[in-house]
């Protein structure tokens, strides 16, 4: 019993009081800005949902990863700009594929070795790949990503590793 509890704590990560309070503050401020209603009932519901969100975040192990997340935060806008261009070009490709009468698809599954080191990095890489139309991340396991591509060209593009390199560059000190 005792061992099980220790394992559980490890899984959820140690939450320091300062980070819990910070998350609570951010949630409360954004809730107040978003709702704009200051009646007691609405405020009470807001407070309840903030506390519930913090509890769920704790359960999901948010406090294990949030420091790695803060480190990449300031590089994200530049990365998003590159990702946006990528999304636009691949969207046009997929739209053309779908609308062409012969439906020239060649579905392929590839395995990509993630150059990212942290869990947060893996998530950013996997989600970016899913976000650009034509490629979907099916599985992430021990630093390997299983990716389904709509065409062989898309698969080759992924294996060139541009996305991989850029996501890894996010994590650098």
């Amino acid at each position: 019993m005792k061992r099980m509890r220790a394992k559980r704590v490890l899984q959820r990560g140690e939450a320091r009081l300062s980070s819990i309070l910070l998350l609570l503050l951010v949630l409360a401020i954004s809730w107040l800005l978003w709702s704009g209603l200051y009646k007691p009932l609405v405020m009470g519901l807001g407070a309840f949902s903030c506390v519930l969100s913090v509890y769920l975040a704790h359960r999901m192990g948010f406090f294990r990863h949030h420091q790695a997340m803060f480190k990449v935060l300031h590089r994200l806008p530049g990365y998003w700009w590159w990702l946006l261009k990528e999304i636009v070009t691949s969207s046009i490709d997929v739209a053309k594929l779908i609308l062409s009468p012969s439906l020239p698809i060649s579905p392929t599954v590839v395995v990509l070795d993630a150059a990212t080191k942290t869990d947060v990095g893996h998530v950013i890489l996997g989600n970016s790949i899913t976000l650009s139309p034509g490629t979907v991340t099916l599985d992430v396991h021990e630093g390997k990503l299983l990716i389904h591509c709509l065409t062989i060209e898309g698969a080759k593009e992924i294996q060139k590793g541009e996305a991989n390199r850029r996501a890894a560059a996010l994590e650098k000190k």
Binding site: I87, V94, I98, T130, S132, G134, T137, L150
Partner: protein, 113 residues
Amino acid sequence: MIDLVLDILSWILLVLGGMCVLIGGIGGLRLPNFYTRIHAASLTDTMGTILIFVGMMLQAGLSLAALKLFAIMLFLLLTGPTATYALANAALLSGLKPDAGSASDDPKEKESQ
């Protein structure tokens, strides 16, 4: 003058976004199996979302509403791929083979092939 330009630009973006959603729907019908259909849905999910929300932000102008729209777009773009991953991963874990190529996974069509 500048209002007119912004209005035209926002309508172009909204119409393009609507087209992306439509093409995603057509793709969902035309593509042969589960894993390829996800790609059509992701066209609706990302490009449709971006175009429609930027179009609406241009309509809202510089206001709190535009900021809220931007935040909603960001949340959709962050949660969308996570949901797609959950869907695709659930299919993979339950044994649907991803290397079927462009074969249909409809049991009726499989029999006739």
